[in-house]
């Protein structure tokens, strides 16, 4: 799949036949009276995708349709959903579906709004998956902080049981039985990692598993059974693909990873929020056209395009298309650390006012607290980074500290750990050192930036 590089006078295509401005697909419930309840979902065409799957298609043709749509997982890794479903199905049952609603990546918040707005959209996507892959027990794992989201889901599940969309012989189909329940996490970012999530669901400390076996395989999934793990947004695309067709979906936005995307943008923009736009929308459009530009009209200094886990993009790189394919290959690839990363499309925008050293010090603190402690480089390295950066940020940095930092990043990064959290932890640190080294040097030479307006942090002078 090739993609034309973005150029200034050729704005991205909003998909064949898509009217402008873009018509939302996933968030149509927003602003409707009772939008999150079953009666309104049915008015909006709800459960028609499932009905079509059950009455007009067979499980394999559903999987083929999802594969043809080129839907890539929205949780971060960008794995093709059809391939994941087909692979799971090739392994013997019983099988499970797990919905990853852990969403804890700083700067990422599309799932929370999607669940609030349209819980039945998620349930329908889940039921289609269960039908296609042959699954009778599905679990939603939602982060503990999002109690409201769990309540919204519990209510929707009750409605769907009562209406016969969940339960036994769904839609009159003999033997199509599915049970769905919600399990709440309790505050651990690593639970977003799919194998850690399954450990937590099984009632254990959330430490990622060694792969292989992979989750889709016997021995690797939930309770040792072949398991599909999908993100909330991934599954919410599914009913629309069945109703409108794979070709429609594949025509939206970036050809290599098409579809609607819930971009979340925050930081120094005037109108932060969730923007549903075609995959591949440029960062420039997201910041200026939709999010209303920068607070106090400042210039963009840097961007975390895939939230805190990815590398920083410089403020000069705004023409980049925001999608998995673009941000995971050259020139957005920086050895030895790998791709900049798109993650789940959570964009944090830093204006010129930002004291990047303070931001990176926070990022390091986050990953140090959230490391599960299973691998040595991540467990020890994240704390090293936190210690050194906190020293620098408090104005006590020494010139040799930057060398130490670089050493540590190289010792953690580059796939040396069991899960990607290790790599995530070095991404912002290593890229900030590459892009903004003089700012770190100034700190280490006793010239800490004084309290940067808007960044809100009093900096202890060195």
């Amino acid at each position: 799949m090739t993609q034309t590089p973005p150029v200034a006078d050729a704005p991205i295509q909003h998909g064949a036949g898509q009217p402008l401005p873009w018509e939302p697909v996933l968030m149509t419930a927003v602003g409707r009276e009772g939008g999150r309840f079953l009666p309104d979902y049915l008015l909006r065409g709800g459960y028609q995708g499932l009905t079509k799957a059950v009455q007009e298609m067979d499980p394999d043709s559903v999987i083929k349709e999802i594969s043809d749509s080129k839907l890539l997982g929205r949780g971060g890794a960008g794995f093709p959903t059809g391939v994941k479903w087909g692979g799971t199905k090739r392994n013997p049952g019983p099988r499970h579906l797990v919905v990853n609603a852990d969403e804890s990546e700083p700067g990422t918040y599309g799932n929370r709004y999607a669940i609030d707005a349209d819980p039945h959209g998620l349930l329908e996507g889940m039921l289609v998956c269960c039908f296609a892959v042959g699954i009778q027990q599905a679990y939603i794992y939602i982060r503990g902080e999002n109690l409201y989201g769990a309540e919204v889901l519990e209510h929707a599940i009750k409605e769907a049981y009562a209406a016969g969309y969940i339960g036994k012989n769904i839609l009159g189909k003999e033997g199509f039985n599915v049970d769905i329940s919600v399990t709440r996490g309790a505050g651990a970012y690593v639970c977003g990692e799919e194998t850690a999530l399954m450990e937590s669901l099984e009632g254990r400390r959330a430490q990622p598993r060694i792969r292989p076996p992979f989750p889709i395989e016997v021995g690797g999934g939930l309770f040792g059974r072949p398991t599909v793990v999908n993100n909330v947004e991934t599954l919410m695309c599914v009913p629309h693909i069945l109703v409108r067709g794979a070709a429609w979906f594949a025509s939206i936005g970036a050809p290599a990873c098409p579809g609607p995307k819930l971009y979340t943008i925050s930081g120094h923009v005037n109108r932060p929020g969730v923007y549903e736009l075609p995959m591949g929308t440029t960062l420039y459009d997201l910041i200026y056209k939709y999010a209303g530009g920068m607070k106090r009209n400042q210039k963009v200094k840097a961007v975390s395009p895939g939230a805190l886990a990815c590398q920083l993009l410089p403020g000069t790189d705004l023409n980049v298309q925001m999608d998995t394919a673009t941000l995971t290959r050259p020139p957005h690839w920086h050895p030895p650390f790998g791709p900049v990363g798109f993650g789940a499309g959570g964009i944090i925008v830093y204006g010129e006012e930002t004291d990047i050293v303070q931001v990176v010090a926070r990022a390091a603190g986050f990953f140090a607290r959230e490391s599960c402690g299973k691998c040595v480089p991540c467990r020890e390295g994240t704390h090293w980074m936190q210690d050194v950066l906190s020293r620098i940020a408090h104005g006590h940095g020494r010139p040799r500290d930057l060398g130490i930092l670089e050493d540590v990043t190289r010792n953690i990064g580059g796939r040396k750990t069991l899960c990607a959290l290790g790599d995530f932890s070095v991404n912002s640190v290593a890229s900030a050192l590459r892009l903004f080294r003089p700012e770190f040097e100034a700190y280490c030479n006793g010239h800490a930036r004084s309290s940067a307006a808007g960044s809100g942090v009093p900096v202890a002078a060195g």
Binding site: P5, V7, A8, W22, P24, V30, G31, S104, P106, G107, T108, Y109, N111, R112, Y113, D116, A117, G144, E145, N146, L147, Y148, V152, R184, A186, G187, A188, Y189, L201, G203, R204, A206, F223, S266, G267, P272, G273, V274, Y275, L277, Y284, Y288, K289, Y290, L308, T316, D317, L318, V320, P331, Y350, T354, V359, R362, A363, F366, R369, E370, S455, G456
Partner: protein, 198 residues
Amino acid sequence: MSLSQAARDRIVNDFIPRYPSKRAALMPSLWLAQEEAGWLGPEVFEEVGELLDLHPTDVASVASFYVMFHRRKIGDRLIEVCENPSCFLNGSDQTYARICDQLGLDSGHGGHGVQTTPDGKFSVRPTECLAACDYAPVVQVDLRFYGPVHGADVDAFLANMEAFSIEGKPSVSMANGPQAVPVDGWEAHAPPAPGSAE
């Protein structure tokens, strides 16, 4: 006995049947126990362990992995202030400091632990991204979402939290519906579109 009979019944009749293994009922059981007692102590670990056929040490080990399970008593209300980048860029440090000041706690202690007021009414701690960054700075009180709460809003917030509630509210960008609409006249304020990025 620290778990109520109702809680035991719920664990046995509702949680355990949800999963193919008894152990998997542990997360919901710990949540339920914490809702009743406010925190999780050694007795809870024993009683939950008994219901799920787990050693109490095993239960405690799992509970201690998760920051939302409290292993000592905390205040009646728990106030958590997000300190991650989007909130930080929007002044969450001032929010945290002002909340601590107003409650007579030390905002400069720098750690991530819980501080509780001497009268036991409030506990405060910094927390990680609450996935509500469009309402930064975001505060969570007893797992309910509030924002934006700037430093200057703290007094009003402590007097009437519900005025700041964002539960069930759409994203800031979707106040007028789900459509992403270009901001009127955006070109006038935007720098020229960059040339080819690479």
